[in-house]
């Protein structure tokens, strides 16, 4: 059985980047960017998440099968949110239904 062992230096490096991103996201939140505050906050959170998944959770070095399972969780979450919003974002487009 071959196990890929990530060197400690990589872990420390990823940790440092995560810390910088945490500081950045808090700092940026104090600047008013209108609707882009949400975008930026979620963008930074996503980068952090990808770093954790790829390095701490070793998805960089797992089989394709495992990657499919990782993707499945994300895709299904996207289905849940997208098709729910499909309702909420179109409320009030027609004369009958009221906006929420």
């Amino acid at each position: 059985m071959t196990v890929h062992i990530t060197p400690r230096r990589t872990y420390y490096l990823v940790f440092a980047v995560l810390m910088i991103l945490t500081a950045t996201t808090t700092g940026v939140a104090f600047i008013d960017m209108g609707p882009f505050n949400v975008v930026v906050a979620l963008f930074i959170a996503s980068i952090k998440a990808v770093l954790v998944v790829l390095f701490f959770m070793h998805v960089l070095h797992v089989t394709n099968l495992t990657k499919v399972f990782v993707a499945a969780g994300i895709v299904w979450l996207a289905i849940l949110i997208a098709l729910t919003l499909n309702d909420y974002l179109t409320r009030g487009w027609d004369p009958i239904s009221r906006p929420f």
């Binding site: 289905i79 098709l83 499909n86 909420y88």
Partner: protein
């Protein structure tokens, strides 16, 4: 037919150990399947008892046998018990647990202890529900719609919700176990292209269980939180939106219909081949259709909400998407019938159930298309048309396939046959009783009889009397197999390893199988369904 067998194998999974403890602490997938068989059967008859009370009440137009409040509890308990404690676990947890490792040529599932934990979670969830039955029931309908379930209902919603929540985790863990087992426990040579179709179906089912059930769990948990702390996640008077609950609920509960029916597809795919002695027509399409249904089934849930405040545009999109779910189901029905063509069909008990399934599922599926059409659904929403449609899929489909599977695998489970004449008689009773029960409901529903009321106008009387008469026949049809199968445990002739002359690894091991299924791990060298090759040219 296989040679006459005069004795059971000396050591098999049933006599490998004795005593209650050897059963309650077992990790053998076959014994866990038997535990499920016993408990799920009890729930089936409990749910059936509630159904019978509902039908008796509806025999007359007035609400006379039961008070309306009691009637509400009866149909709710019927729905909850049948869906969460019979339909969802029936084929996966009983038949799947029993045969999956054997089909794969493995000693057990990937996680035997987790499998036992699933059964205990199922029991714990079931006990909560039974507790509710004893102390007075729940009246929200099996859907727990808010704000009724969160604010107004004065029945035992939290305890029932907890029961469903716990049982949900049992379902998730079973699905997880099957998925991992399919990936990692296949015998050498058993490639994905050689997997039995039952495996494909259960794999698809398990995906839905893993990805859908947690959303139900959280939705029910939120109702519980709302009820206990009197807060308003879904309460419109506190700023919440009850439709959000329905979105979360149906995100699971529409795919849950496929949790209930996909395993039945798998059973029918097996039986249709064994009893027509032919390889399935279009293996890849049938296998792919299972996965297709599992994935695509998550995109259509809004068709349960056409009459709510869901936006009309969302309704249109869900309606449009819903039509396409008929494609993979249609592929399956056509391929099963094409398999029968020029096959050497034998009309034994499991095959009769298979025929019943194909016909009734087709009716149920086509009426589903009616309901997916937004305009028509506004007319028949919450009428008996929906009830009939649903029961054609669930009872005409899943229960038929489940009974077929029980008869098919009974010799493998117990080592004994059953009286086939009685079996065919019961299958006929079930088919006749079923149609007499539910076909009149299509008519009543289309004429506008609403569901979930204890009383109804005089004009629907005849149809309801027919329905109740049919339900009585159906009840007898379900009791007969219970009797002769129990009788067969002692008195029926021995079956031998392969009484049906079927293919597949599960038929190559003795009946009942030894604890670890195979003497040594089998090596697969050819297709699973190599029925008499000379008929191959027909395909």
């Amino acid at each position: 037919m296989s040679p006459i067998v005069t004795e059971l194998p000396k050591i098999h999974y049933l006599n490998a150990a004795y005593g209650l403890k050897s059963w309650l602490l077992t990790t053998d997938h076959k014994r866990i399947a038997i535990l499920y068989l016993i408990t799920v059967t009890l729930y089936f008859f409990l749910g059936g008892f509630f159904a019978l009370l509902v039908r008796l009440e509806l025999m007359t137009p007035a609400s006379d046998l039961l008070r309306p409040e009691t009637y509400n509890r009866m149909f709710t308990m019927h729905g909850i018990v049948m869906i969460f404690f019979f339909l969802i676990p029936a084929i996966p947890a009983i038949i799947g647990n029993f045969v999956i490792p054997m089909m794969l040529g493995a000693r057990d599932l990937a996680f035997p202890r987790l499998n036992l934990l699933s059964w205990y979670l199922f029991m714990a969830g079931g006990l909560f529900t039974l507790y509710v039955v004893v102390i007075g029931g729940v009246d929200t309908g099996w859907t727990f719609y808010v704000p009724y379930s969160s604010v107004y209902s004065n029945s035992y919603v939290v305890a029932t919700g907890l029961g469903v929540f716990i049982t949900g985790f049992s379902s998730i863990l079973t699905g997880l176990n099957f998925v991992v087992t399919t990936h990692t426990m296949r015998a050498p040579g058993l490639t994905w292209g050689r997997l039995p179709l039952f495996m494909w179906s259960l794999y698809a089912t398990s995906l839905v269980q893993i990805l859908g059930t947690p959303v139900l769990a959280i939705a029910v948990a939120l109702v519980g939180i709302e009820r206990i702390w009197r807060v308003g996640i879904f309460d419109p008077s506190l700023g919440g939106d009850p439709i959000l609950y329905q979105h979360l609920f149906w995100f699971y509960s529409h795919p849950a219909v496929y949790i209930m029916v996909l395993p039945a597809f798998g059973v029918v795919s097996e039986l249709v081949q064994t009893f027509s002695r032919k390889r399935i027509f279009g293996y890849k399409f049938v296998a792919g259709a299972s996965i297709g249904i599992a994935v695509y089934g998550f995109l259509v849930w809004g068709h349960h909400m056409f009459t709510t405040r869901q936006s009309v545009y969302a309704g249109l999109i869900f309606s449009f998407l819903s039509y396409f779910i008929a494609v993979p189901s249609g592929i399956k029905v056509f391929n099963w019938t094409a398999t029968l063509y020029k096959g050497s069909v034998s009309y034994q008990t499991p095959m009769l159930y298979t025929f019943g399934f194909i016909g009734l599922f087709t009716i149920g599926g086509l009426t589903g298309l009616f309901l997916a059409a937004m305009g028509l659904d506004l007319h028949v929403h919450d009428t008996y048309f929906v009830v009939a449609h649903f029961h054609y899929i669930m009872v005409g489909g899943t229960v038929m396939a489940y009974l077929g599977a029980i008869h098919y695998y009974w010799p493998k489970m117990t080592g004994r046959l059953y009286p086939d004449a009685w079996g065919r008689f019961a299958a006929l009773l079930v088919f006749v009783g079923f149609n007499l029960t539910f076909f009149p409901q299509f008519l009543a529903g289309y004429l506008g009889m609403p569901r979930r009321y204890a009383a109804y106008p005089e004009e629907f009387h005849l149809l309801n009397v027919m329905s109740t008469a049919g339900a009585s026949v159906l009840a007898v049809g379900y009791l007969v197999p219970l009797i002769y199968l129990l009788w067969s445990l002692r008195h029926a002739p021995l079956a031998g390893p392969n009484p049906w002359g079927a293919r597949g690894l599960e038929w190559q091991t003795p009946s009942p199988p030894p604890t670890f299924n195979f003497e040594k791990t089998p090596i697969v060298t050819d297709e699973t369904y190599e029925y008499s090759l000379e008929e191959e040219e027909v395909v």
